[in-house]
Amino acid sequence: MSLKGGKRWLLLGFLLAVFLSWVSGFLNPYDRGVWIDCGINVILAVSLNLILGYTGQFSLGHAGFMSVGGYTAAKLTLVTVALIPASFHPLAFVIACLLGGLAAAVAGLIVGIPSLRLRGDYLAIVTLGAGEIIRVIWQNTEAVGGASGLSGIPKSTTLGWTFAFAVLTIYVVLCLVNSTYGRGFIAVADDELAADAMGINPVRYKVTAFVVGAFFAGIAGALYAHHKQTIVPTGFDWLKSVDIVVMVILGGMGRTPGVIVAAILLTWLPEQLRVIADYRMIVYALLIILLMILRPQGLFTFKTRKGASVS
C-alpha cells in the first residue's frame, strides 16, 4: 500500500462504494445481505487486527464494543425517525453510526485503561468479562428492550455505506500502522520492556489501539443493527468475539490484506454450507481446525512481516 497515494486510495474506495450502491440494486436481497455481512465482518476483523495483530493484545471483548455501537445507533435512529422528514433519514443513519462508534470508543477507553496493564491470558479473561458485562447490562436495561432487544430498526444499511465504512476502517488502520503509531504498536507487541526503554509509553499505545479498534467495532455494530433490523443481547456474546479472533488469526496477525480476505471467506463459507443444514457448523469448525494446523502462520502469509515499509 503506497503511503503518499494514501488519500487517493481513500477517494478511489469511496467512488467504488458509490458504484457498488448502484450495482447492489441488481443483486437479489439474499446476496446483497451476504455481501453486507462480509463488509461488516471486514470492519470487525480489520479493527481487531489493530489490537490483536499489530499491538499483540489478546482482546475477547470486540463483540461487546460492537454491541455498544449497535445499541447506541439503533436507539438514536428509532427515536429520531419519527421526528425528522424521510429525506434526512440517511444522514441521521450515518451520524448514528459515527455516534455509535464514539460510544464504543468511550467504552473501549473505560475497559482499556485498567485492563491493558495486564498481559496475555489475563487480558483475554478480563476483556471477555467486560464483554459479558456489557451484554448483561443490555439484557437488564428496559429502555433498550431487555432480553428481547430492539426491533423495528430502520433498514438503512446499504452495500454502499457498508463498503464506504470498510474502506474508511482499512484506510485508518493502514495509515496508523505506517506511522509512528504503528511502529510503536509493533514494538510493544514484540517487547514491551524494550519499547518502554526506547521512549514508547506502552500503556498509551495499547490504549490508543484499543480505542481506535473499539470505535470501528461500534460502527460495525451500528451497520449490523440497521441491516438485521433486530438486535438481541445474546447476538453479542463472547462466541461472536471468538469468531472475529478466528478471522484475524486465519488472515495472519498484523497483516491487513490477509485479514480482509479471511473475513470475507469466513462469512461467505458458512452461507455456502447451508445446503448441508445441520452439519454446517461441524464442517465449518473442522475447516477452521484444518486451516489452523496446515497454515498456523495465517492463510495468506508467504513471508515474515518486516514491519512497516522501509525506505
Binding site: T180, A194, D196, A197, K306
Partner: protein, 269 residues
C-alpha cells in the same frame, strides 16, 4: 539544570527483592561526558543498578538524580525522553521490525506526530517522515549497518545485533548511555572493534557512558573511572590503575583463586 551538576548521581541507593538486598547503599556520580565502568562478579547487582537508573525498578531507599532532577517515580519511557538510553544484557531488538525500523521507532521519541496528521498525511507529516528517514540512514551508515537496513533485526549476525542495539539506543538522542555487557559473546577481534566503537561514540556524540562489562581488557581500555560492586555493595571506585591494585577488588574477583590470575588478566589490559 546547572552545568556544574553531575550528569547522574546515585545517593545511597538500595533495593530489596523480598529478603534479598540486591543493591545496598550505592553512591556514585557520573560527570557529563564521563566514561565510567561498573564491574563486579556475577550477581553483584550491576544490571539491577541499570534497571534502577532506567526506572524499571524503583529503589527501596535512596535518591537518583539526572542533572540534579530526581528520577524517582518516573517510568522508563519518561527517562528516555529526559536523555537516558540503554542496551540490554540479553539483546532485546524488535524481531518483527526491520533494522531500519528498529532505529526509526527509537528516534520517534524526539519526533512525535499526532494522530490526525498521521491520518491526513499532509506536507508537514511527509516532510517530518523524510527528516527521520534521513537521520536513520545517517546513523546506520556511521555504524556500517546501512546495507542490512531491510533485514529483519534478529536475522543479523550476533555482533551486528549488538551494534544495532547500541545504534537504537543512540537514536533516542541520549545524554547518558548505559551499556550492559556489550562484549558478551564476542571474539577478541570483535572486542577490539567494540572498544574503538565505544570510544568513537563517546567522542562523536559527546555523551556520558556507563559501561557494565566482565571483560577487564575492554573496561580498563576505555573507562576513565571504575566502580566495583560485590553483593550489591560498592567496594571500590577509582581510576583503572587504582582498581587494578585494589586489594578488595582482587579478592572479590578471585575469591579462592590465586592472585596471579588476576595480575595476568589485568596485565593484558
Amino acid at each position: 539544570m546547572n552545568s556544574s551538576d553531575p550528569l547522574l548521581r546515585l545517593r545511597s541507593v538500595s533495593i530489596r527483592f523480598g529478603g534479598l538486598t540486591a543493591v545496598s547503599g550505592v553512591d556514585f556520580e557520573i560527570a557529563s561526558r564521563e566514561m565510567v565502568g561498573l564491574i563486579g562478579p556475577n550477581g553483584a547487582g550491576k544490571t539491577t543498578v541499570f534497571n534502577l537508573i532506567t526506572g524499571v525498578y524503583q529503589p527501596t531507599e535512596g535518591e537518583i538524580e539526572f542533572y540534579a532532577q530526581s528520577l524517582i517515580g518516573l517510568k522508563p519511557n519518561a527517562l528516555t525522553r529526559l536523555g537516558i538510553a540503554r542496551t540490554f544484557q540479553n539483546i532485546r531488538l524488535f524481531p518483527s521490525l526491520s533494522v531500519f525500523d528498529n532505529v526509526r521507532v527509537a528516534m520517534q521519541v524526539r519526533n512525535p506526530h499526532g494522530m490526525l496528521s498521521a491520518l491526513w498525511r499532509g506536507k508537514s507529516f511527509c516532510a517530518g517522515e523524510k527528516v527521520v528517514e534521513k537521520s536513520v540512514m545517517e546513523l546506520l551508515s556511521i555504524f556500517h549497518l546501512e546495507g542490512m537496513r531491510s533485514d529483519a533485526a534478529t536475522s543479523l549476525p550476533y555482533g551486528a545485533q549488538r551494534r544495532l542495539e547500541i545504534v537504537r539506543a543512540l537514536a533516542t538522542a541520549p545524554r547518558l548511555l548505559l551499556l550492559d555487557e556489550p562484549a558478551a559473546g564476542m571474539n577478541p577481534a570483535e572486542k577490539e572493534e567494540l572498544k574503538e566503537l565505544i570510544r568513537f561514540i563517546h567522542e562523536k556524540f559527546e555523551i556520558g557512558i556507563l559501561l557494565v562489562e566482565h571483560d577487564m581488557d575492554v573496561v580498563m581500555g576505555v573507562c576513565e573511572r571504575i566502580v566495583v560492586l560485590e553483593y550489591g555493595k560498592m567496594i571500590a571506585a577509582g581510576s583503572p590503575e587504582e582498581i587494578r591494585d585494589h586489594r578488595a577488588v582482587i579478592e572479590a574477583y578471585l575469591g579462592n583463586k590465586v592472585e596471579d590470575d588476576w595480575n595476568e588478566e589485568v596485565a593484558d589490559a
